[in-house]
Symmetry: C2
Subunit: 382 residues, 2 copies
Amino acid sequence: MKKDKLLMTPGPTNVPYGVREAMSRPMIHHRTDDFGLYFSCLNKNLKKVFQTDNPVLTLASSGTGGMEASIVNCFSPGDKVLVANTGVFGDRFVKIATAYGLDVVTMDIPWGKGVNGKDIEEILDSEEGEDVKGVLVTHNETSTGVTNDIQSIGEVLKERDCLFIIDAISSLGGMDVKTDEWGIDIVVAGSQKALMLPPGLAFVSVSDKAWKAIEKSTFPKFYFDFLAYKRSLEKNTTPYTPAVSLVIAASQSLNMIVEEGLDNIFARHKNLGEACRKAIKSIGLELFAQEDMASDLITSIKAPEGIDIEKVRKILNLKYDIMIAGGQQHLKGKIIRIGHMGYVDGFDLIKTLSALERALLEVGYKLELGTSLTAAQNILKY
Amino acid sequence: MKKDKLLMTPGPTNVPYGVREAMSRPMIHHRTDDFGLYFSCLNKNLKKVFQTDNPVLTLASSGTGGMEASIVNCFSPGDKVLVANTGVFGDRFVKIATAYGLDVVTMDIPWGKGVNGKDIEEILDSEEGEDVKGVLVTHNETSTGVTNDIQSIGEVLKERDCLFIIDAISSLGGMDVKTDEWGIDIVVAGSQKALMLPPGLAFVSVSDKAWKAIEKSTFPKFYFDFLAYKRSLEKNTTPYTPAVSLVIAASQSLNMIVEEGLDNIFARHKNLGEACRKAIKSIGLELFAQEDMASDLITSIKAPEGIDIEKVRKILNLKYDIMIAGGQQHLKGKIIRIGHMGYVDGFDLIKTLSALERALLEVGYKLELGTSLTAAQNILKY
């Protein structure tokens, strides 16, 4: 029997039926009250989920478009920025900033480790850190399974004349991001992660401090010009045709998120993360990420000596219809990654562990069947 | 009774149920063979619909993103371009090119008129036209209801060292665009017009000549970097997460288009255009667009003296659940526009005319009921 794929990946993630059904409704025009109702409801809920009083912009683009937009709107050629490079997505900030001719100071963190406020402060207080106009950090680095300590970095940056920009593409809606309280100027989120939507939308919150910087930016821009989105948002619309079906889907999924309640959602993900890590360790596997900074949305696991971990992944996908992720770049074949973000509960995790145990046995790894299930079962509350 | 909206607008347009259903399927991951099948099928059909042997890139953005991408990939700061400004969307080319510091020569065509090869040749042969590196033309200018003569412009440009870029956002898939034969270097299409899809995707074909220019372009870019899309396309994927549900929908709608056959589709739209114009004139209304360049995808109609045409539009929308478009910018209240592109047949047009007659009567316009229906009925073949 071929079942619908269970996506235990760091995006795209599973999309609830109610959200998919909303996308399948007859098309409506975007310059109408009907669309306006969806859009204003979405915008109201985006503020709640971003925990901000500032406007949240909706772009028809992938998360990478949102990252680039943040850079071209906030800075000007030659501006110095500090990037905490903790993996593939930290590196993407480096690549975009470099492509635009920014003066990029890169903190090259070993993959699997995270950064906190002290690490950032050290650089900012050094000669290298002089005149840094922006600090760019990935919140939840899915390539390694690490969550950087955004709150402590926010505290360090509050007193400084420097913008704080975070890639919360995979974290927003799954873990706590107190945008205003933590002093984050730009938060970029993507639709296809914890927000339980298909890919195709990026959401960006912009602080007052960031708006002031944006007005001074000299980079040319048009499609990604935040000021155009701000002006349109005041009239409850977008400057260019919005991705109507995705916006309607988003209004639906954000409703579900607000209904479940942010605290409940964060607790669910925390519980899933803990259960997954315990379960993985119970069968003798090692975690890849520094454990005190391990992500609650994705668990990275080292391939055991002599085990073809890519084959394990293939068995999960082709035999059991469960998608998990492999390692990226130099980690290919060295780790696997189990996503547990968005529309995922404990039973999905149990199912995944059940398949993982069977697949590991199949490739010759020794374990006692049920061990990881029992470990998870003793922790799971959701 | 409230019926599903019939979208007789220049985008978003009606989306067939089969395409909407495809979007509502359980999410799949984009780095899989399952997705690869959809994507390669889409790419094969895009080449057919673009009538090109060159690769067609798929961007997660609105059509405006595709227009901007074409400019930042093909040119460098200070390059001279010629834009045929025939309405809102010609003007958008001017605005983007100006934002990027290009030297923009603008042909300001009176709204409602079109351009052909001779008009372009005249400018290129004048002093103003020296060293023009690109000519940018809107194919189907939806704001005025005019179709510019792309074929004759292509003939003029074939012998010149200059790129030919067209915005075919609303026309592609509805009227003939012989990309290779007519020598068009960049064709930008949008998903939400004749291609029968929701908004959120732009498609861009790129000629060999354009690729050579792209390699020399010095504009910074990342998300819209065509070279990255080209490299990924060779591996049947995209550089950043694609809008999975929209790509699956597109593979479905392009299948429908190829199955109907381009010639049949062009004939259908030609017939709808002719029937609509004849019907409109039969009740004494005047066309806004120059008739020998009137679009077969959208009909623009002057508001009769003393008639509140915005009220007519409102009646169609709220009483009869049919959306038509009004005038943009200085044409607001002066014209209405009936779109007949994409998933539209003669019966949809008949229904629209039936509602239009009733609404016109309601606001005090004199007509004999059934006149425009009979006029259309005598022409319609689809």
